[in-house]
């Protein structure tokens, strides 16, 4: 079956089975390998992308349900790794093996769009991704750091992503 999807501001046409998870379309049809397979049942969050701005576990979203939506992956978070969260992630030296971090970053990006100044409890609720290296304390610190650095520029132009124009 042929499907037309919007990914990172561009339109792509893919030919896959209708129940193919978006995850494998992104990775193997579009070559966007930053989004990772971790569990296949929407439990671990390694595959998190934004679908119409909402954090979504792409391993459980069938391609036929992704048509018409604006999809954002880690590759679009910033053109050059300078999204405040990415800068904070480097400053806090968050990643260890790094495998879950695309999902962590996309989940956190969605959180900050919805709630520019999250409390620890907000972070606990929003970030339910699994990291086996145990980077949680640093993820939390990096989210707070990013908030601190985004606050002086209330226009928030740096967090609008690359889609939608």
């Amino acid at each position: 079956m042929s499907y037309e999807i919007r990914v990172n501001g561009q339109t792509a046409r893919v030919d896959v089975a209708s129940d193919t998870p978006l995850l494998w379309v992104l990775r193997d049809e579009l070559g966007l390998k930053g989004t990772k397979y971790g569990c296949g049942i929407a439990e671990c969050g390694a595959c998190t992308v934004l679908v119409d701005g909402k954090p979504t576990r792409s391993c459980r979203l069938q391609i036929r349900r992704a048509e018409g939506a604006e999809i954002e992956t880690i590759e679009s978070l910033s053109p050059d790794g300078t999204h405040p969260l990415q800068l904070a992630w480097v400053a806090e030296q968050v990643p260890q093996c790094g495998y879950c971090q695309s999902g962590m970053l996309m989940t956190s990006a969605a959180l900050l769009r919805a709630n520019p100044s999250p409390s620890d409890a907000d972070i606990d609720t929003a970030v339910t991704n699994i990291c086996r290296c145990g980077t949680y304390p640093r993820v939390r610190a990096a989210i707070h750091r990013a908030v601190g650095e985004m606050t002086p520029t209330p226009t928030g132009s740096d967090d609008q992503g690359t889609t939608g124009s």
Binding site: T20, T128, I130, R132, C133, G134
Partner: protein
């Protein structure tokens, strides 16, 4: 003459010591070889691990895999320090899988201190290809990277390179080498004002032979080591760029999903693949080590087609075995008493018979899966004259040996490409490369490259598990309440054996063990047997203290009187945690201390116990003496990581066997600690000047006993089985 495994290993270790020195004295031929394998024009090898380019860029070839522990940064730091290189001009590359780049000192990582651990028995199986290849280890594991490659290899290599560059400068300028100064990648001769960069002299230096003797810097003069330099691998990891095994995509790639033999030890009796083959996109179905593989144009196609396979499995007579059976047999084996003595001091039985009071308890821990975030996968392309393999492995050369064994190809024709590892924790080590064998076995049957990906369920149900161990501990107390005898009888794999030994001054001790006869495959799991035995020893120690009416911290201090290094760490943890200060009702504090991989770690856990929701771990204070600190922030990250890894196991981790197979399938029934459950973690470094110790594994063992002891302090309830979830406590 019959050569025993032990003799092979001991002589291997001696050779290892020699090769450590040899490593930096590699002759010109080896450097030429290195350049042929992994060099470019305008670059010169001063050592197999150092390339210097004409523009002065120093590239360090690191012979270890990066799985998040930071070695791709800390090892180059050690080298650059001795070389006096400008850190801004230092780059890192992972060395390819070739003996030229191997870590020659690895076996010593396990061998010192103490005996040759039986862990190495398995290495002989791998080494059956050639016993001489025993030393061809390019392994990341056993906390060896910094301790051995770094301490003996990288530093020496850096110092040798510095010497060769200085020698080249002295020849060019016709001045004595002793008058050459080196700093920030610049060689200078102050008397004449001459100055050149590393790049200007790289070509000349590469033709020189390194010296026989090198002087290393005094730590007081370090300007790179000891600083938390930003890790090289992190910028890519925040933009989704690193290439893990699962990400490789050679031209013409197909995908494979595997139907694994469900009961360990079983086999495929017969199968009918006709329905699967009829599905669009399916290329073929092949029988492979461990099961059947469907190969298709897309991974999802292959995954779905598994359901259409009709397979009659053989269970090898293991189809009725359950975890309860295994535990029952372990207890029976302990009670049967047919045990081997591992260590005996004094007369433990006699002291027990004469004791005023005795304490006895049986402890057990379950199988655990590794559950690294990147499910196991292997991409291979086998041709008649060679083979390429792309997979995350902790030991590239062992992977090459396995691929050679499966294909029958000459190892020199097999290229194992280094890729980033999405976690290892021991699963991707040399003793459990079943997934490499299977991936290559699939690819060997077709003419194109194939990427085999295990589903999370495959990964969880076909692991090389941390062994389930049962231990019966007995202690005798004298009239003053101090322990006079300590006995530990246990069943289960036990590597390294010192994991069951105790550091406490107890006059009469006896440690005995028996092999487990289980059909469940086992492997190395972060900190190996320390994680099980620390739970037994350090929990039971608290039982002994309680029975004698003693404070568990004070009794530890007293019985560690001849180990001031351990007391210092214990005190640091207790003081930072406020040991002895009052806590509210329902809260408790527990302490534990473990020496492993050359490091000492003490932890104090603070927990809150709610009758409804169970245990919440509020805080872990971790004091560590890991010897000389190369990268303080990286060390702290490894300690945090080891603690959170152990908390998942302590609270939730259990792999259950039923009908001969694993019950758990995925994260919901094998849960992990998440952000919301993560306690406050405070790390305190207590460096004593001991040699560099391990970091990645050493914070893991004390967690379970510290939490269990805190639970006891809060409630009076003693937990002797893990995980706490099993007792309804988490």
């Amino acid at each position: 003459m019959k050569i025993t495994r032990r003799q092979v290993l001991v002589s291997g270790a001696a050779v290892g010591g020699g090769l450590v020195l040899g490593a930096f004295m590699v002759d010109g031929d080896v450097r030429k070889q290195a350049r042929k394998i992994h060099g470019e024009d305008g670059e010169f090898f001063l050592h197999t691990w150092i390339r210097v380019a004409n523009d002065g860029t120093v590239t360090v070839l690191v012979p270890h895999s990066e799985m998040g522990q930071g070695v791709h940064t800390s090892l180059p730091m050690m080298l650059a320090e001795e070389m006096d290189a400008d850190w801004e001009k230092v780059r890192m590359e992972q060395a390819p899988a070739h003996p030229t780049f191997a870590n020659p000192s690895l076996p010593r990582g396990f061998i010192l201190p103490g005996d040759v651990p039986g862990l190495f028995n398995d290495m002989v199986d791998y080494a059956t290809l050639k016993t001489a290849q025993l030393m061809n280890l390019q392994l990341t594991g056993g906390s060896t990277s910094l301790r051995y490659t770094g301490r003996y290899g990288m530093r020496q290599a850096g110092a040798a390179a510095r010497w060769m560059l200085a020698k080249a400068a002295s020849k060019r300028w016709q001045v004595p080498q002793a008058e050459i100064e080196v700093a920030q990648s610049i060689l200078s001769h102050p008397a004449t004002g001459k100055e050149l960069g590393f790049g200007d002299l790289a070509a000349e230096a590469s033709t020189l032979d390194p010296p026989n003797k090198l002087e290393l810097k005094s730590p007081a003069d370090y300007s790179i080591v000891g600083q938390s330099k930003p890790r090289f691998d992190i910028p890519d990891k925040v933009v989704g760029k690193p290439v893990y095994g699962i990400d490789v995509e050679p031209e013409g790639l197909r995908y494979a999903a595997v139907a694994h033999i469900p009961v360990f030890g079983g086999a495929v009796r017969s199968y009918d693949a006709s329905k699967a083959l009829a599905e669009p996109g399916v290329e073929t179905v092949v029988e492979v080590e461990g099961g059947l593989a469907v190969i298709a144009d897309k991974y999802w196609t292959a995954q779905k087609a598994l359901r259409a396979l009709e397979i009659d499995w053989d269970d090898a007579g293991n189809g009725e075995v359950s975890s309860e059976d295994i535990l029952r047999r372990q207890v029976a084996d302990i009670e049967g008493g047919e045990l081997d003595v591992d260590r005996e001091e004094g007369d433990a039985e006699g002291a027990l018979a004469a004791a005023a009071n005795r304490v006895e308890a049986t402890y057990s821990v379950p199988y655990l899966a590794h559950a690294a975030m990147e499910p196991l996968n292997c991409t291979a392309w086998v041709r008649p004259d060679g083979c390429d393999v792309w997979a995350g492995v902790q030991n590239l050369l062992a992977a090459r040996a396995q691929a050679a064994d499966v294909t029958g190809l000459d190892p020199d024709t097999i290229n194992v490409h280094p890729v980033m590892l999405g976690g290892g924790f021991g699963r991707r080590g040399m003793f459990s490369l079943d997934y490499i064998r299977q991936g290559v076995d699939i690819a060997r049957q077709v003419p194109y490259p194939v990427k085999m990906i295990w589903s999370r369920e495959d990964d969880m149900r076909h692991d090389a598990y941390r062994p389930a161990i049962t231990a019966r501990l007995t202690a005798a107390l004298d009239d003053s309440g101090s322990p006079s005898a300590w006995l530990n009888d246990h069943i289960g794999k036990n590597e390294p054996s010192e994991a069951a030994h105790i550091p406490y001054a107890i006059a009469n001790t006896r440690i005995r063990y028996g092999e487990d006869q289980t059909h469940v495959p086992f492997g190395t799991w972060r900190s190996v047997a320390h994680s099980q035995h620390a739970f037994f020893t350090e929990s039971f120690f608290d039982e002994v203290a309680t029975a004698g009416g003693r404070d568990p911290y004070e009794l530890r201090r007293e019985l560690l009187a001849d180990r001031p290094d351990m007391v210092a760490v214990l005190d640091a943890a207790a003081n930072s945690a406020g040991w002895g200060s009052p806590l509210p009702e329902g809260r408790g504090r527990g302490i534990a201390i473990v020496e492993s991989f050359g490091s000492i770690v003490a932890e104090v856990a603070e927990v809150t116990v709610d009758p409804e929701s169970g245990v919440k771990v509020d805080r872990i204070v971790c004091a560590a003496d890991t010897g000389e600190v190369i990268h303080p922030d990286g060390l702290a990250a490894q300690l945090e990581s080891g603690i959170i890894f152990a908390l998942s196991a302590t609270l939730y981790g259990e792999i259950t066997i039923k009908n001969g197979r694993v019950v758990e399938r995925n994260f919901p029934d094998y849960p992990m600690m998440k952000m919301a459950d993560t306690p406050v973690i405070e790390t305190v470094l207590v460096p004593s000047g001991r040699p560099i110790g391990g970091a990645g594994e050493v914070a893991t063992p004390p967690v379970a006993p510290a939490v269990a002891n805190a639970l006891f302090a809060a409630t009076g309830r003693r937990v002797r089985e893990l995980p706490l979830r099993k007792a309804g406590l988490a």
